[in-house]
Amino acid sequence: MIRRKRQAPNVPVSSMADIAFLLIVFFMVTSVLDTDPDIPILLPDVPGGEQLNKKIANIYLSADKNKTVYYNTMRMTLPEAISHVRAKMATTPDFKVLIHADKDLSYGEVDNAFEMLKEIGALKVSLITQTTQGGGLNNK
């Protein structure tokens, strides 16, 4: 009787590298970079801010002499930004507007934005402060 040598079973691992690289490429491609426009906004340094990770629209109000306004990464006037918010609200429920305003800006300017947001029914607002963990807008 011929007795065959029993071979130890082995799992092929040669395709493991392909899977790993595929995962790397997948995450690299699908990750969305959240960018802020490159404008000098000095955010107020006050405690009590909550961390935000909701689907949101960003409005940036700078304190320079032109009172530059950005909606996400696009420069526009405040009424234009508000109309973008209104358009986004129609598709996204539980919507929040993040206001990045410079601490040297007069409150009236920010209140103006509040009034416009009230007009379109965007009542959930978050006033962005300096982060305690780094990240966010650069300081001047």
Partner: protein, 139 residues
């Protein structure tokens, strides 16, 4: 004659550790990735058509913010003045507000007030435990 010529073997590069390297890279980037977290004070704006609620004036904790100066007036505490929002924050934390029937604060400010000061006052009032905060802008 016996030929001693060896068979030329094709040299192989070992790819077995490739997966280790790839997973290591994957884990490294996952661990070092910094999530872009923003922090902010959440505010619920009133509805445009909302009718104003009436409260007894005595229960209201009134804060007037003019420039850097903060003035508070309340029946229980009286009238006090602070030179900066920072000083107001420190003093507010020492105040006894637990026996207030309604934790309602009214912040009065003007168009010219700096937004930073305004937010400082708002944050200290929020953190102190006031449940309802109303902001009014002086004309």
């Amino acid at each position: 004659m016996i030929s001693l010529k060896k068979k030329t073997q094709i040299e192989e590069v070992s790819a077995a550790s490739m997966s280790d390297i790839a997973f290591l890279l994957l884990v490294f980037f996952m661990v070092t990735a910094v999530f872009f977290v923003k922090e902010g004070l959440n505010v619920q704006l009133p509805r445009k058509q909302a009718s104003p609620t009436k409260v007894e004036r005595a229960h209201v904790f009134e804060i007037v913010l003019t420039g850097d100066k903060v003035t508070i007036s309340n029946q229980a505490i009286g009238r006090k003045e602070y030179s900066s929002p920072k000083e107001f924050r420190n003093e507010l934390n020492k105040m006894e507000i637990a026996n207030m029937p309604i934790k309602l604060a009214l912040i009065k400010t003007s168009h010219e007030t700096k937004y930073g000061n305004m937010l400082d006052v708002l944050s200290s009032v929020q953190l102190r435990g006031f449940e309802k905060i109303s902001v009014r802008k002086k004309k």
